[in-house]
Every structure is written in structure tokens, then in C-alpha cells.
């Protein structure tokens, strides 16, 4: 057989590798450089600044608020969707009439872009004309209009709820994959031994879908931590930065306030955090692959 480029794996891999590496490493190098420099709002570097930008980020009260809300946001959505998705996956794994229709409906939020979902919710939550208020009034749950997005105390929980809603399809899908890998014989045996359904769930289902739970938690943490459109398209982090999470705060720092040095420092720190999550995920994925 003659040598040809098709038989050299390195040549085949090279374009993809270069493209994927360049798009991460070049911006990362830029961010590292800017974060250690004094920089004006037009992005010109004015000399070495040490860790000044990092210190400025940490002493900004808005940062600390956004950091705290990011924790609430991430944990709230990841565990909120987990708690709902486990029973939903168990139900969708049963054999009942219209199951495929039910599966399609549960998957719907995944099919629509987050931006569009958020824009629709922004309208639905409108204080005077929104259909959520009129719907809730019609069934008698509230009697005056609620200005959902005007205050953080209602806006942020609603945003988390939207986040849960759009995270359920992916999470449920992973669990369904896990459930379908459990053989029916195990449940059969448990029934013959006289185990109740709850016992079967605790002793068989839960341990066997544990790897899938872990994967979904880590993946969702990464996705939710980075999720920008829901908050940006509903409140843009407002009113008065009270619904900002780190990603929206980062965007404002960089593109609204022109504090490129601080924004870069924050990006580098978020990148490092994300890398830790990601390496955890890859380790988990590799482990389950080896098993």
C-alpha cells in the first residue's frame, strides 16, 4: 500500500486540533496578559500591574454579591432539576399509553434556544399585561398583579425556576439512559424476594444509576455556571445588579463599564474554576468507560 496522507493519523488530526486549540489558547493568553496589566477602557495596555486587577475584583461588593448568587443559581438549578428529573425519568421508563408523546413534551424546552425561551418568559411575566398574572388570577391563586421582574426577590427565584425547567430534559435523558441499562431480571428477583417498590428503588435503581447521577451533576454544574441568556434576556442582571451572576457581571465589567483589566482577571479565575469542574467530569467519564 502506498503512503498517503490518509494513512497518517497526525496529518488527519492536525487541522481539528489546531482549530480547537487556537480558539481556546489565543484568547486565554490574551486574558492572562490583560489581567496582569494596567489597561485603559479602549483596551490599550499601560504596563505591568501585578495582581492589582485581581485584588480590585475581590474588593468589589458587586462581585461578592454576584459570586454568592452564582452559588445559589448553580446549586438551585442543578439540584432542583435533579430532584424533579429522577421521578420524571422513572415515570417515563414505565410502559403507559402515550409515553412517546409524554417524552416529546418533556424534551421540548431543550429544543428551543435559551434566548427565545427567556424572551417569551419576559413577556409572560410582564406586570400589567403578562399572561402569567392573568392566568394565576383566573384560577384564583393571586388577586393583584405581581411585578415579577421588578424586584430581585421575585425575579431571581423565577429565573432559577426557568433554569430548572430548561435543564430537566437533558438531565432526564441521561437518567433514562441509565435506567434502560438496568436489566429487568434484577427487579424480578427483588420481587420474588418480597422487596417493596421503594426497597427495589433504594437497593437496585439508585446504586446502578449513581454514575449517571454523578455525570449529570458535573455536566449541569458546568452548563448552569456558564448560562448567560436566561438572566440577560429577562433582567440583564437588574434591577441595580441585584440579579447578576458571575457571567452577567463579567459581561458588564468588560463591555459596559470598560474595566477590561478586572474583567480579564475575573475571566481567568472563572476559567480555572471551570477547568477543575471539567477535569472532574473527564475523570468520571473515563472511569465509567474503563468499567
Amino acid at each position: 500500500m502506498t503512503r498517503s496522507p490518509v494513512t497518517n493519523p497526525y496529518l488527519l488530526v492536525l487541522p481539528g486540533f489546531l482549530l480547537a486549540a487556537f480558539i481556546i489558547l489565543w484568547p486565554l493568553y490574551q486574558l492572562g496578559t490583560i489581567s496582569l496589566s494596567e489597561v485603559n477602557r479602549f483596551g490599550q495596555l499601560r504596563g505591568f500591574a501585578g495582581l492589582d486587577n485581581y485584588i480590585a475584583v475581590f474588593t468589589d461588593p458587586d462581585f461578592l454579591g454576584a459570586l454568592w448568587r452564582t452559588l445559589v443559581w448553580t446549586v438551585g438549578i442543578v439540584f432542583g432539576s435533579l430532584i424533579i428529573s429522577v421521578p420524571v425519568a422513572l415515570i417515563l421508563n414505565e410502559d403507559f399509553y402515550g409515553r412517546s408523546l409524554a417524552r416529546v413534551i418533556v424534551m421540548l424546552p431543550w429544543a428551543v434556544s435559551l434566548t427565545m425561551t427567556a424572551i417569551v418568559w419576559r413577556w409572560a411575566l410582564n406586570g400589567e399585561s403578562g399572561m402569567l398574572n392573568s392566568g394565576l388570577q383566573a384560577i384564583g391563586i393571586i388577586d393583584t398583579n405581581i411585578q415579577w421582574l421588578a424586584r430581585a426577590s421575585t425575579a431571581f427565584p423565577v429565573q432559577i425556576l426557568i433554569g430548572v425547567l430548561v435543564t430537566i430534559p437533558f438531565t432526564t435523558t441521561i437518567f433514562l439512559g441509565g435506567l434502560s441499562s438496568i436489566s429487568d431480571d434484577l427487579y424480578e428477583a427483588a420481587r420474588l424476594e418480597g422487596a417493596s417498590r421503594w426497597q427495589a428503588f433504594r437497593q437496585i435503581t439508585l446504586p446502578l444509576i449513581r454514575p449517571f447521577l454523578n455525570i449529570s451533576i458535573v455536566l449541569n454544574m458546568i452548563y448552569v455556571f456558564n448560562s448567560f441568556p436566561i438572566i440577560w434576556a429577562t433582567t440583564q442582571g437588574g434591577p441595580a445588579n441585584s440579579t447578576d451572576i458571575l457571567v452577567t457581571y463579567l459581561y458588564k465589567l468588560g463591555f459596559r463599564f470598560g474595566k477590561l483589566g478586572e474583567a480579564s482577571a475575573l475571566s481567568v479565575m472563572m476559567f480555572a474554576l471551570l477547568l477543575i469542574f471539567t477535569i472532574t467530569y473527564v475523570a468520571l467519564a473515563m472511569r465509567s468507560e474503563r468499567q
Partner: protein, 274 residues
């Protein structure tokens, strides 16, 4: 009552609160899109008459045509770019053992997870440096490059299901490696490539933050940015036009996604979990 019927009632009853929440935004979108203009701000659910002409009126009112074209342009070209780079890479990962192979896979798994969000300022500088600010091609490049990790992993997991024997048989028959690839392998790989391309397309179609950052003038807006610009920071929003535009921009893609969703799950499952 049969056991299955009983299960059916229980299952739908338990799912119903979630289903109401899921269907609610779709209902809001559709009902607003068909409301006559003068009824939009009235907090009633049902329109007195169905205003189908909103779907025609929104076209010029929301600048839908140019944004649609930009979205198609960006999604198609970025997908083509990603595929050109990733089909050979996925083929190599699957068919050859070479040192660094495991490392390359780990690199892809890691970079698939690194969202452009935390790099957005660096990406902005990259685009400025390339002189492509406000140019849809900047978005093509960034989407294409970011899609590579996903498309390689997805293609790779499907290529594994294409038997190697056929190419080997072609080699024995005297075909060159290149010929075996083009005549034997690629036709069998077309379904995998198509599915991967559709997901890459949908990702690009839905992307928000990169487009928001790189595209500053209305001529270069993609659909999500165009529709967002009609809502953000405005005192009067023509919600019936916005919802009609959202509907048209969303539903065709959503149907394709819902139809192909199980392939994504299978690809993810082979690529990551299993």
C-alpha cells in the same frame, strides 16, 4: 381496569404539573403571536379574532429577512468549517492507534466543556485583531472552531459502528487508502455526518453571547440578537410581532431537534457516559 390503563392515568397525573409549566411559554408565544395589535396589552388569554397577518407584518417590522439570512449563513458555514476539520480527525481517532491518541481525546473532552462565555473578552480581542468585528464571518470562525471538539467526539462514536472489514476488503482489492475512504467509508458515514451537522447547525442557530458581542450593527445581527434587540431597553415593545418572529425562528428548528434528539443522546452516551 387493566394495569396498563391504571399506570397511564397515574403517570399522566403525576406529569401534569410539569407539562403545564412546559407548555405554558409555548402557549404564551403562540397566543400572543395571533392576537390583534390592539388586544396585545390587554391581559386576556384568548384573542377575539385570530390575526394571522401578524406573521406577515412582523417580517418587515422586525427586520426578519436579513437576520434570517445571517443566521442561515452563520449556521451553515460554521458547520461546514467544523466538519472539514473534524471528519478526518474523527476518522483517524477511530481507525488508527497512534501515540497521543488518548491525550487528544482528553483534550477534546475538556475543550468541549469550556464555554466561550469565560473567554468572551479574549475572543473579542481576537476578532478585533483579525479585523472582523461586526462581520458575520467572525462568528462563523468562532462557532466553527468551538464546534470542532463536539463534532469530532460525536462523529468518532458513530464511526466506531462502521465495520472496518469493508475498507480492508477494498485495500485487498487493490484500492488506495484514499479511494477506500472516499468510495467505501464516506457513503456509510453520511448518516452520522448529517446528524452531527444538524446538531452543530442548531447550536450555531441558537447561540447568543458570541453574536451579542461580535455583531454590533443591525445589518450583521443573527435572529437571536435581532429579536433580543427588539425587547431590550425599549419602552414600547410590539409583542405580537416579537412573538410571531420568535415562533417562526424557533419552531422549525425545535421540530428537527425533537425528531433527532435520540441520536444526540446516543452519541453523548457512547461518547461520554459509556
Amino acid at each position: 381496569m387493566s394495569a396498563k390503563l391504571k399506570r397511564t392515568i397515574v403517570a399522566w397525573a403525576l406529569l401534569s404539573p410539569l407539562i403545564v409549566l412546559i407548555v405554558f411559554p409555548f402557549a404564551v408565544m403562540f397566543i400572543t403571536a395571533i392576537k390583534p395589535a390592539q388586544e396585545v396589552l390587554r391581559p386576556t388569554w384568548w384573542p377575539s379574532e385570530v390575526a394571522w397577518r401578524n406573521f406577515i407584518d412582523m417580517w418587515p417590522a422586525t427586520n426578519f429577512g436579513p437576520a434570517l439570512w445571517n443566521s442561515i449563513y452563520v449556521a451553515v458555514l460554521s458547520t461546514v468549517l467544523a466538519l472539514i476539520a473534524s471528519v478526518p480527525a474523527a476518522y483517524a481517532l477511530n481507525r488508527y492507534r497512534f501515540s497521543g491518541r488518548g491525550l487528544f481525546r482528553q483534550f477534546l473532552l475538556v475543550s468541549q466543556m469550556l464555554s466561550p462565555m469565560v473567554l468572551v473578552i479574549g475572543l473579542f480581542r481576537l476578532v478585533v485583531w483579525l479585523g472582523l468585528l461586526d462581520n458575520v464571518n467572525s462568528v462563523v470562525f468562532v462557532y466553527g472552531a468551538f464546534a470542532v471538539a463536539f463534532t469530532v467526539l460525536m462523529l468518532q462514536s458513530y464511526f466506531a459502528t462502521i465495520p472496518r472489514d469493508l475498507e480492508e476488503a477494498a485495500w485487498v482489492e487493490g484500492a488506495s487508502a484514499w479511494k477506500a475512504l472516499v468510495i467505501v467509508f464516506l457513503p456509510l458515514a453520511i448518516p452520522a455526518i448529517t446528524v452531527t451537522a444538524i446538531f452543530s447547525f442548531i447550536n450555531a442557530w441558537n447561540e447568543f453571547v458570541i453574536a451579542l458581542t461580535m455583531l454590533r450593527r443591525q445589518e450583521s445581527y443573527t435572529l437571536p440578537i435581532q429579536i433580543f434587540s427588539l425587547v431590550a431597553g425599549r419602552y414600547t415593545v410590539e409583542w405580537h410581532h416579537v412573538m410571531a418572529a420568535t415562533f417562526v425562528a424557533t419552531i422549525p428548528v425545535a421540530i428537527v431537534f425533537a425528531w433527532l434528539q435520540r441520536y444526540l443522546v446516543r452519541g453523548l452516551a457512547i461518547g461520554a457516559v459509556k
